[in-house]
């Protein structure tokens, strides 16, 4: 009898976690993450100049650090499976594509969580230097975790595209960079907008036509991406408004740092949690589409 969904997801997640933590390269990346976050937190004049026991300086840098660290965790997730042919072994077991995607996601999220737990050393330094607010620390770390969870899902999309881990890293970092710079750089907002329109089109297809086999949802995503690109890049004016500027402005609110800001101030807002969870869900949905492309 096949395992339950949670059993299957757990088996895949623990395999990924063990594979990463059983590999010296994994510890190199974890060490780099801890060193980078400690350097961003304390090796700046601002930290001692402010004379406050908080992680405000790290908060500014954390999205950029995660932009590189998370894709380094996720780059092997699917690219390795494709390169070694084990995807064929895995996908002919009694497992659903969604279970594979979620298992991989939770495995990588586990690795990120381990890295984050090690980085709690930053809080110990604050305790040594002063009296940090417990609630503020909790909210800040919850924000780091949620932002990282979304980046893990985005990094997985990069890994699903290719069998080459370097390309997977670059694609993952590009996706995370778009989320880091959305709202600050028009290219990033436009990029996020194109991905969102594509995902909405795919979801709409699934709602209307169901989620059976075939490339219908993928074709819908492709049409959505083409539509998004047209809206973003076409030099069209509508009632005196530049459509491209409107498009970029619409998606400018999807920048990760803006939604993390409140966590860094000790506030846990439902809207911000929904943003990170929703962003991860959209990326995981795209992973599901990409994993099923072997059937097209």
């Amino acid at each position: 009898m096949p395992s339950s969904s949670t059993g299957t997801i757990g088996a895949i997640a623990s395999k990924e976690l063990r594979a990463y933590l059983g590999n010296p390269t994994g510890y190199v990346f974890l060490t780099l993450f801890i060193v980078a976050s400690a350097a961003a937190a304390f090796l700046t004049d601002t930290f001692f100049g402010r004379n406050l026991a908080d992680l405000a300086t790290l908060n500014k840098w954390m999205p950029a650090i995660l932009m590189f660290f998370v894709p380094a965790v996720t780059m092997n997730l699917w690219a390795d499976e494709r390169r070694s042919g084990t995807d064929e072994l895995l996908l002919t077991l009694p497992v659903r594509d969604t279970e594979v995607v979620l298992g991989k996601f939770f495995g990588a999220l586990g690795v990120y969580t381990v890295g984050l737990l090690f980085s709690l050393a930053n809080v110990l330094v604050l305790v040594y230097l002063g009296e940090p607010d417990v609630g503020l620390m909790f909210a800040t770390y919850l924000g780091y975790w949620l932002m990282g969870a979304m980046f893990v899902a985005v990094g997985m999309v990069g890994s699903m595209f290719t069998g080459n881990t370097t390309v997977a890293f670059i694609l993952g970092a590009l996706g995370c960079a778009a989320l880091v710079f959305a709202g600050q750089a028009p290219w990033a907002s436009g990029f996020i907008g194109v991905v969102m329109v594509g995902a909405i089109a795919g979801l709409a297809w699934n709602v209307i036509a169901g989620s059976g086999k075939g490339g219908g949802a993928a074709a819908a995503v492709a049409v959505g991406v083409a539509l998004g690109l047209a809206l973003w890049l076409a030099p069209v004016q509508l009632r005196g408004t530049d459509v491209g500027e409107w498009f970029v402005g619409t998606f400018a609110a999807l920048g990760a740092p803006a939604h993390f800001e409140s966590f860094g101030e000790g506030l846990v807002r439902l809207g911000d949690i929904a943003f990170f969870v929703g962003g991860a869900a959209v990326a995981l949905y795209l992973c599901g589409i990409l994993i099923s492309r072997r059937h097209w």
Binding site: P2, S4, A19, L89, L93
Partner: protein, 251 residues
């Protein structure tokens, strides 16, 4: 030409007009055949004939562009039916892909967990370890194993849940003569109780293990029938070249 299904035994694997296109290239072109319950069938053909593509379709890894397949009555292109089928099917993909950083024991435990073997896991592992003679390498990383042992671990994972049907993509590929003999003996032994479809491009392998033969070339069915029917009027080798030449002439 298709197998005659008028035997008293039921058909376990059936392919009907399977076609698979990659752009303009037809990897499979309207291939039909059937494999009856409890037989060892050899899927014979030169490299690039479409053997692996057919096996990927039968196991649900790929979907055909057109045509249909049934294994144990399940449609492998239907997501839910594929799950049910995978619980009763053992599959050794081409080149026996395995996780390089895991040991055979970890690999089998991981797959047993996915297959939900629960309390029977250890006895299942002991059974397949004995069947495939991998006891001495159970604690070595797969990346350190020879090609022969990797292939045997691949066989072990395919047998772990004691499936009714085995689909083996070139199970003796890369093995030395002694290992080939061991694997062929194992296939003959398993063939007494299971339905087996194995792909090969080695003519001697067909005579060594199979009772039925499906011959494909350039994505098209060339012959399907019993080994005796294939050998009628010559050796397997003679008939293979004769049929392939006739197919080329017809094309």
């Amino acid at each position: 030409m298709t197998l005659q299904d008028n035997s008293s035994r039921t058909v376990t694997i059936r392919a009907e007009n399977l076609s698979k296109l990659y752009g303009d290239f037809a990897a499979l072109h309207s291939v039909s055949f059937a494999v009856r319950q409890g037989t060892v069938a050899a899927f014979l053909g030169p490299n690039g004939a479409g053997k692996s593509t057919t096996m990927k379709i039968l196991t649900g890894y790929l979907s055909p562009t057109s045509g249909s397949a049934r294994v144990l009555g399940f449609d492998p292109t239907d997501p839910e039916q594929r799950i049910a089928l995978a619980g009763r099917l053992g599959y050794l993909p081409e080149n026996g892909p395995l996780y390089a950083d895991m040991t055979p024991r970890e690999t089998l435990e991981f797959l047993a967990r996915i297959r939900g073997l629960g309390t029977t896991t250890q006895s299942a592992i002991e059974r397949v370890v004995a069947q495939t003679s991998i006891g001495n390498v159970m604690s070595m990383p797969v990346s350190k194993l020879s090609k022969g042992f990797r292939q045997r671990v691949g066989m072990a994972q395919a047998l772990l849940h004691d499936p009714e049907v085995l689909i083996l993509d070139e199970p003796t590929s890369g093995l030395d003569p002694l290992q080939i003999r061991e694997v062929r003996n194992l296939i003959r032994e398993l063939g007494r109780t299971k339905t087996i479809l194995l792909s090969t491009h080695i003519l001697g392998e067909v005579e060594a293990v199979a009772s039925e033969v499906v011959l494909v070339g350039e994505g098209r069915l060339v012959f399907s029938g019993t080994l005796d029917e294939l050998r009628a009027g010559g050796t397997v080798e003679q008939r293979f070249y004769e049929l392939m030449d006739r197919k080329k002439g017809a094309a």
